[in-house]
Symmetry: C2
Subunit: 201 residues, 2 copies
DNA sequence: CGACTAATGGAACTGGAGTACCGTTATGAC
DNA sequence: GTCATAACGGTACTCCAGTTCCATTAGTCG
């Protein structure tokens, strides 16, 4: 078979880009249940049939969007101290979640993940990647002797984000800079006290 | 007008109870996007028309379910030490989120809250009530001198739940007892270090 | 450049969610 | 018990999300 292959070329990629952007916009504007595939097609200036054929369901579309987002990584700043690094991380997350568009988008992504197993997997992979990007800060702090040996670096990074997501999704309290700074301070204090160390008998 | 009044009597209440139970079951089984009002009516053995007239949309139904859940409060244990109390709280939350039915239900409730403002308000009220129920533990610890004066009791309680919800919704890591105990220990350590105290200059 | 075909896009079709209408049931006042 | 009416429930209808079908476009290879 000479011509039996996939075509990753120009048009297909262009369509995907336009559709994912439209999907992100719609999720940010109206939340998960306003993600109508017909509307996505209209916004992306793409045939309705194409969207239904390539993605089929909102869940699959969101999963694809998450895969795309996972590939684009953000630059990480290095301040030299653990508190500085984690505060930088906390503020980055805080700015993202507090931003009207991005915050609404993340809410919708998480909502979509609760409805579909594959979407959930894509979401978990996204956070796994983001956590891995920041874990070295904590590992370095362990090396410097700021934290007890055996500290679970990834768990410390998760501990910084958790309170901010809790505010965004559950309590509804504002995700402001004060909350970010407190999350970073709390994570450092807990880690210093060995709360993320190896489980003792 | 002699007969111009609402009727909170038997049948209406019975219908509401049956519908809310069916809604909870469906949310737990299939997530938010399987919450079909027609299916709810069938399960509750209630006329389809009734469900559409009284609630109209899944979001409103979920909001009503949350209002119902907010009214039923859970007993709180008192262990005498802050770590003991917060560990009890963490394990209660952990058991709830790890339970197949309850965990799926909470995921769906949070997903629903991201799609509708009134539902979100109902969810926030629910957590506000739950947090208020446990805040006295922390306040007592401040009284006993275990924590610095000025510690935000409600924020400490939120800090216990946050990592568990983060696992449930974002990272996908297991919500197990070890995670619960770690969350409680971390919250105590951070609070002891003054991370939830009044903001300094 | 020209052939081949993967991928797109328009148009017509279909099924079921949501609505409207109206008769029936049961609650509460007297 | 009797009456008035709030609330329920069955049936028929509407409308649009999702599908199917086929013509058209545009990447890829020789």
């Amino acid at each position: 078979m000479t011509h039996d292959m996939v075509r990753p070329g120009g048009r297909t990629a262009r369509v995907r880009e336009a559709v994912l952007r439209a999907a992100g916009d719609l999720l940010a504007e109206g939340g998960l249940d306003h993600l109508d595939l017909g509307e996505v097609a209209r916004r992306a200036e793409v045939g309705r049939t194409t969207v239904y054929r390539r993605w089929g369901t909102p869940a699959v579309l969101v999963a694809d969007l998450l895969a795309e987002m996972a590939e684009t990584s953000l630059p990480r700043t290095e301040t030299g101290s653990l508190l500085g690094d984690l505060t930088a991380n906390a503020r980055l997350v805080q700015r993202t979640l507090a931003d009207p568009r991005q915050g609404a988008l993340f809410k919708a992504l998480i909502a979509a993940a609760t409805c579909d197993a594959r979407t959930a997997e894509a979401l978990h992979r996204f956070y796994e990647i983001r956590i891995d990007e920041w874990a070295p800060c904590v590992a370095a702090a362990v090396e410097r002797g700021e934290l007890p040996a055996g500290t679970d670096a990834r768990e410390v990074v998760r501990a910084v984000s958790a309170p901010l997501y809790y505010r965004l999704l559950a309590s509804g309290d504002p995700v402001d800079e004060a909350a970010a700074d407190r999350a970073a301070r709390a994570a450092v204090a807990a880690a210093t006290a060995g709360a993320y160390g190896p489980t003792r008998c």
